[in-house]
């Protein structure tokens, strides 16, 4: 009986209903996801490298929605021809939220996205260090002028640093801009818990 339970936990879930497509992405992908603890993510950014033309439209869209400051980088762990980009996955269990001294990083009231409040972030870097996936970046904030000069703390003359990460475009309509901007259907924000959807997407 115990073995059965173990088997349940460690094997790939079989889809029980007749007529529904069996999830059929190869076991090594599952292995990759589990090994890198990516199954934590509810909005993992997957990029299909077979279709991505490296045009950076996703970054442009993200930037245009965030005052020219993109919230992710187009690199990350790769398995086969899929990349899990360094964009906040909005984990089920966000480690980054532990330890924030000001509470700037929080869950938004809208749908539970993990969001950093720019105004209260003091740039200590605790969240960036905590994030096991390196999805949070410490950035010298620039102003909105033409020069886009680095903003400087008048008190100690040092540049102001803030933690930035993907916020799923909570301030805008339409959902994450990156996904909408990819012209080749290469980018997807996937919920790792929804394996049916994932396998469908991987097998398009």
């Amino acid at each position: 009986m115990g073995d059965e339970k173990m088997t349940e936990l460690h094997t790939i879930k079989e889809v029980p209903e007749a007529g529904k497509k069996k999830d059929n992405f190869d076991p090594s992908m599952m292995e990759f996801l589990v090994e890198n603890r990516l199954i934590n993510g509810t909005q993992t950014m997957l990029i299909d490298l077979d279709r991505c033309t490296r045009c950076d439209d996703c970054l442009q869209a993200c930037a245009s929605g965030h005052s020219n400051n993109p919230r992710f980088i187009r690199h990350g762990r790769i398995h086969g021809h899929y990349m899990v980009a360094n964009a906040c996955m909005h984990c089920e269990d966000p480690v980054c939220m532990i330890g924030c001294p000001t509470g700037a990083i929080h869950r938004s009231e809208r749908n539970g996205e993990v969001v950093i409040n720019d105004l209260t972030c003091i740039g200590c870097g605790t969240c960036a260090i905590s994030c096991p996936y390196e999805n949070i970046r410490m950035v010298n904030v620039r102003d909105q002028s033409d020069e886009s000069a680095v903003m400087v703390d008048p008190v100690n003359g040092r540049p102001i640093v803030k933690a930035t990460k993907c916020d799923l475009c909570v301030e805008h309509h339409g959902g994450p801009a990156c996904e909408r901007a990819c012209p080749h259907d290469a980018l997807k924000r996937a919920d790792m818990n929804d394996l049916d959807f994932l396998s469908d997407w991987l097998n398009r």
Binding site: L49, A181, F197
Partner: protein
């Protein structure tokens, strides 16, 4: 979720349907001696404007007007249909006059570069993913520098053994130039540049002159060469993915300007009903 094949199938069906509809329509009007060039011309104008709007949509993240991928699909199929409309508009003739010939060529280049672009965007990513070594294009010079420093470090390492300069000489005469820059443009069109294999083979051939430690260093240099090759590959292929748009987009604006002038000319010089 709809697979790509599903989407492709129905998009082709829809395009074929529109194409047949258009051809039938044009033929009917031609038989009854209507001037079909005006009808097809206006349709072409609208199509070109819609195609151009794709660039505008790419720059506009908000408001959310359909996914960019949807626009892309429309762009591809309307682009293909526009070639058909263009051929019917020009009645399958090559133009005779200066203005029209230039205009024709511009359109051909834009459409042609579009077709080439489709081919590139559907083949190169696969090649890149297959090759491995995913790098961001703008960072390639950085990585190149790192590899060069790595190689130079290894070469210097080799000098500490037996005071032999075999590897150093080899590096200076052959590898230094190779490591200093990405491979030239002319070779980017081809998939496989044999130079790296040559160098690796030559390094292998050098082994008989090298001590054991030097051989290890030579192996590491060989690995660096392999990495450099990956970088070159990415540089070439990703560069091509960016370069074709340098033809497609600027010429579109030339086409638009010519289109406006053509519109004015055709109405001013129209000779019939």
């Amino acid at each position: 979720m709809k697979t790509f094949r599903f989407r492709l199938f129905w998009a082709i069906i829809a395009s074929l349907f529109l194409a047949i509809l258009f051809v039938v329509g044009m033929l009917s009007y031609k038989i009854v001696l209507h001037n079909t060039a005006f009808i097809s011309g206006w349709i072409l104008l609208v199509m070109v404007l819609v195609l151009t709007l794709f660039n505008v949509r790419k720059k506009l993240t908000y408001p959310p007007l359909f996914k960019s991928a949807t626009w892309m699909q429309f762009h591809i199929y309307i682009g293909a249909l526009s070639v058909l409309v263009f051929l019917l508009h020009t009645e399958w003739h090559l133009p005779n006059g200066v203005f029209e010939s230039i205009f024709y060529c511009l359109f051909v280049f834009v459409a042609g570069s579009g077709v080439i672009g489709i081919y590139l965007t559907r083949t190169i990513p696969r090649q890149l993913a297959g090759r491995g070594g995913e790098v961001i294009f703008e960072r390639i010079p950085m990585f190149l520098k790192e590899l060069r420093e790595q190689a130079e470090g290894l070469v210097i390492d080799s000098l500490q053994f037996n005071d032999s300069t075999i590897i150093a000489d080899f590096y200076n005469t052959k590898l230094a130039a190779y490591m200093s820059a990405p491979r030239p443009v002319s070779l980017r069109v081809f998939r496989h540049d044999r130079l790296r294999e040559e160098y690796q083979a030559e390094l292998k051939a050098l082994h008989r002159y090298l001590s054991d430690e030097e051989q290890e260093v030579a192996e590491k240099i060989s690995d660096v060469l392999a990495l450099k090759d990956v970088l070159d590959f990415h540089h070439g292929r990703q560069g091509l993915l960016k370069a074709w748009l340098f033809v497609h987009i600027p010429l579109t604006y030339a086409v638009l300007l010519f289109m406006v002038v053509h519109l004015v000319l055709v109405h001013a010089f129209y000779g019939g009903m």
